[in-house]
């Protein structure tokens, strides 16, 4: 399953500056493992012992994976994954 992963600025040191990279895997966890294989060090920035780090948000086709199945969320060919730091909301 090849998916397009959008990388936030802060993590582009791991991807040679690339904004988006391809990765594959049947679940989010597998995709992150694949990312780690190509871009060593990146997984540690996304995960801790409890799973996704508190201030890391991952969206599968724009939907927050925490409301899907977290790291076990299934991904399909052509899906898009977006990784973003958590930020405070806007017009507030």
């Amino acid at each position: 399953m090849a998916v397009e992963v959008s990388i936030p600025t802060i993590l582009r040191t791991y991807t040679g500056g690339a904004k988006g990279v391809e990765a594959s895997g049947a679940t989010l966890k597998a995709v992150i493992d694949d990312l780690e294989a190509s871009h060593p060090g990146i997984a540690e920035r996304l995960l801790d012992d409890a799973g996704l780090r508190r201030f890391v948000n991952v969206y599968l086709n724009d939907e927050d994976v925490r409301f899907l199945s977290g790291l076990d969320t299934e991904v399909s060919d052509g899906d898009s994954l977006t990784i973003l730091p958590a930020v405070a909301g806007g017009s507030r």
């Binding site: 936030p8 600025t9 802060i10 993590l11 920035r45 996304l46 780090r53 508190r54 201030f55 890391v56 948000n57 969206y59 724009d62 939907e63 927050d64 925490r66 409301f67 899907l68 977006t82 973003l84 730091p85 958590a86 930020v87 405070a88 909301g89 806007g90 017009s91 507030r92």
Partner: protein, 317 residues
Amino acid sequence: MTRYPSLLDSVGHTPLVGLPSLSPSADVRLWAKLEDRNPTGSVKDRPALAMVEAAEADGTLTPGCTILEPTSGNTGISLAMAARLKGYRLVCVMPENTSAERTQLLRMWGAEVRYSPAAGGSNEAVRVAKEIASENPDWVMLYQYGNPANIDAHYRGTGPEILADLPSITHFVAGLGTTGTLMGAGRYLREQKPDISIVAAEPRYGELVYGLRNLDEGFVPELYDASVLTTRYSVGPRDAVRRTRQLLDEEGIFAGISTGAILHAALGMASKAIKAGVPADIAFIVCDGGWKYLSTGVYDATDLDAAEAAIEGQLWA
């Protein structure tokens, strides 16, 4: 009742209007809660007034006090109006990359504006405000991201109003910023209708806002409780602008850009209901009108590309 003793008493009680053109079928209907019909033109009049009144009730706010608040605009404008009428001084900390109208409106109602750096967005405004608060211990920071009165305003107001107008509601969709609207109205609606879907639409900004964010120093509002939500969508500027223009073109509703992001998520829910062949009554929040965003050029841009470019680097929600 449409007569009130004063402007402050008229906060809330906003109309819920159907969207006959954007609703996909007679069984799957969209409903817009027009929060721009509040005194200063945004949903934020509800939490702002509730926070001020709660602070007055518990003795935190006393006559002559200075109120301090990090805000990218609407809450500050609401607080400025309430502070003016109630005799408080207001200092707002606002990111410098918000629209010019916001500064004008804040000053018009008598607020002082201090700017925080554009990079980092509202996170940075929160940080700067906390710094100023520690230097001025006698000032009162209502702190909308952590103030339970914010949630309470929607639990007591927005939620019950929507249910009264739309007893058949199946979905409630709102923006995720302080999380107050979703936590308050969402909690109320779920208590009354356990099967309801509570859907968050979170604005996804351009690079600038996230650029300097360290993944270890992110921000999650203290009010946020993920268990209230059914799901949460991230909506980028292009979809937000596209839906804002569509709402204007097809339904005549002149809304701000964050409303476009919310409508995008609401339409996504409508598509799912159509595919599943089930009826749905989807209510969503119109946070504010488009007036404050006119100078961005989003509304009269020739096409979607130009409209998207117009808000690049702006905090549009």
